[in-house]
């Protein structure tokens, strides 16, 4: 036993100085709730350049066969790049921002509904949270696309609903459900003693929630919230299946315009992949940084 090297416990940066059996931590110290962000943030920053490597190297590995070379494909991409960026990826970002905004707003309402004293509100909120949390995103997107009219008439004014707006609604549904769970979990993570202390000072339930409980768990909600934003952004290409003109749709159209040479596939899709990486990677890093910072407190 004595010769055994002291082992490290994950999350503790000190080596143990004992050979005696020690209690391993009960909970895994890795934040399990952040699969996507943790996975993304743990990559070294140069991963993005590796993703773009095919873009940079392909032109040199010119397959002599055929009239259309990789060099041609590369110059085609260069030509399309500003368009893909401005009309394509920017749109993905806009869709993700709107979906996040709506999803967060509705999610907070639903989350507070889940902790309501009213049994009926509680049940209903729980039901919708579970329903949208456990449905495939693509299915939700198709349902919204097919179920929503292409225009609505309010007080005689015809308001068109473009496909991208339906996509925003479709994507905001699973976000809403997940934010709802974040809110519920954060509120429940505040010790009940805080509720009791506030109750004994004659605060009403509303006051306790808004003045005492939510301000305390607000910080705790930010990392998981950002985690879901990164996931949402990476899910926006789903909209291309609905014909929304975002980066993947436009990439396909651009390739068609370039006569669908198979050599175009790798440069164009690598470019899209690289864009998503460079957008989501900083978010994931900040998420993990905040998660570490806030989890130490309290």
């Amino acid at each position: 036993m004595a010769s055994k090297r002291p082992s490290t416990i994950p999350g503790i940066n000190r080596h143990g100085n004992t050979d005696l059996p020690v209690l391993k931590p009960f909970a895994p110290s890795q934040p399990i709730a952040f699969h996507t962000s943790a996975w993304l943030a743990n990559m070294p920053a140069w991963t993005g350049f590796v993703l773009l490597l095919p873009l940079m190297l392909w032109p040199f590995a010119s397959h002599a066969a055929g009239s259309f070379t990789m060099t041609d494909a590369f110059s085609a991409l260069i030509r399309w790049m500003p368009f893909l960026l401005k009309s394509g990826f920017l749109f993905n970002v806009i869709i993700s921002l709107f979906a996040m905004l709506i999803g967060t707003f509705l999610g907070i309402i639903l989350g507070l509904g889940q902790i309501s004293k009213n049994r009926f509100i509680k049940r209903i909120s729980w039901f919708f949270t579970q329903l949208f949390r456990n449905s495939p995103w693509l299915v939700l997107l198709f349902i919204v696309l097919l179920a929503f009219p292409f225009e609505v008439t309010i007080f005689g004014v015809i308001i068109p609903i473009p496909d991208w707006m339906k996509a925003v609604i479709g994507l905001s549904l699973p976000i809403m459900a997940n934010i709802s769970e974040i809110v519920r979990g954060a509120v429940l993570s505040v010790p009940t003693a805080q509720w009791e202390a506030a109750e004994s000072l004659a605060f009403s339930r509303q006051q306790i929630l808004w003045r005492i409980i939510l301000p305390q768990c607000f910080k705790r909600m930010i990392p998981p919230w950002m985690n879901w934003y990164a996931i949402l952004t990476m899910a926006t290409p789903l909209c291309s299946l609905l014909g929304v003109e975002e980066i993947i749709t436009l990439s396909r159209q651009a390739m068609e315009a370039e006569n669908n040479h198979p050599e175009l596939l790798v440069p164009f899709y690598s470019f899209a992949l690289g864009l998503f990486f460079f957008y989501c990677y900083p978010i994931a890093r900040v998420t993990m940084y905040l998660e570490r910072r806030y989890s130490v407190k309290i």
């Binding site: 003693a193 805080q194 009791e196 202390a197 506030a198 109750e199 004994s200 000072l201 004659a202 605060f203 009403s204 006051q207 003045r211 005492i212 301000p215 305390q216 309290i298």
Partner: protein, 248 residues
Amino acid sequence: MLKKNAETIVSIKDVHKSFGQLEVLKGVSLDVKKGEVICVIGPSGSGKSTLIRCINGLNDIQGGQINVCGIDLTDPKLDKLELRKRVGMVFQQYNLFPHKTALENIIMAPTLVLKQDKAASEKRAFELMQKVRLEGKEHAYPGELSGGQQQRVAIARSLAMNPDVMLFDEVTAALDPETVKEVLVTIKDLAQEGMTCILVTHEMGFAREVADHIYFTDNGVIVEHGSPKTFFNKAKDPRTKEFLSQIL
């Protein structure tokens, strides 16, 4: 300190309380007069904390009567907020609001619940901080204060509501022996000023010194009660004797 003819401010009659199958209080009765200090002692799990949590409605009772400052707690139309404005409570784990400074902790309830003017509540908060001997710590966050200091802020926070009765639920149990003293001194000051106090405590020396009346609970009933002198020196019940022999 004992006021012979003072009005009864807390009256508890034959109170029963169960958590599911477990009956925690099995018919407890006691009266507290205005300005009186009573201590409830007893082994863990004997229902002491549950008893005082029933007094401000944190726990509901299943049988019996509780009347606090003329408010009937068994009334189905009971306004708990009205009751809690009259009854202050201090907890074992301090339970300060961690995102607020000491001062903000104190003025929160007066400004939001009693709708008092902010400047006036702040002035009063500074006075209270002085009273609990924490001048200069007004802008510290709970995390920056020691356990004893946090507990004294918690006492000041309760006092800011100008309660008629103060409940102390094992307020020194989480403190080390030295800081216990600073909290006890604060409570003693209060008692001497005539505040009605109901304490659940394990500090026998303190109970003997400060209390007007001592209740010993075991297994959900009050086994014995009396003045500190008779209780500590001439306990009659064998259960009380056994308990006292182990701690004194």
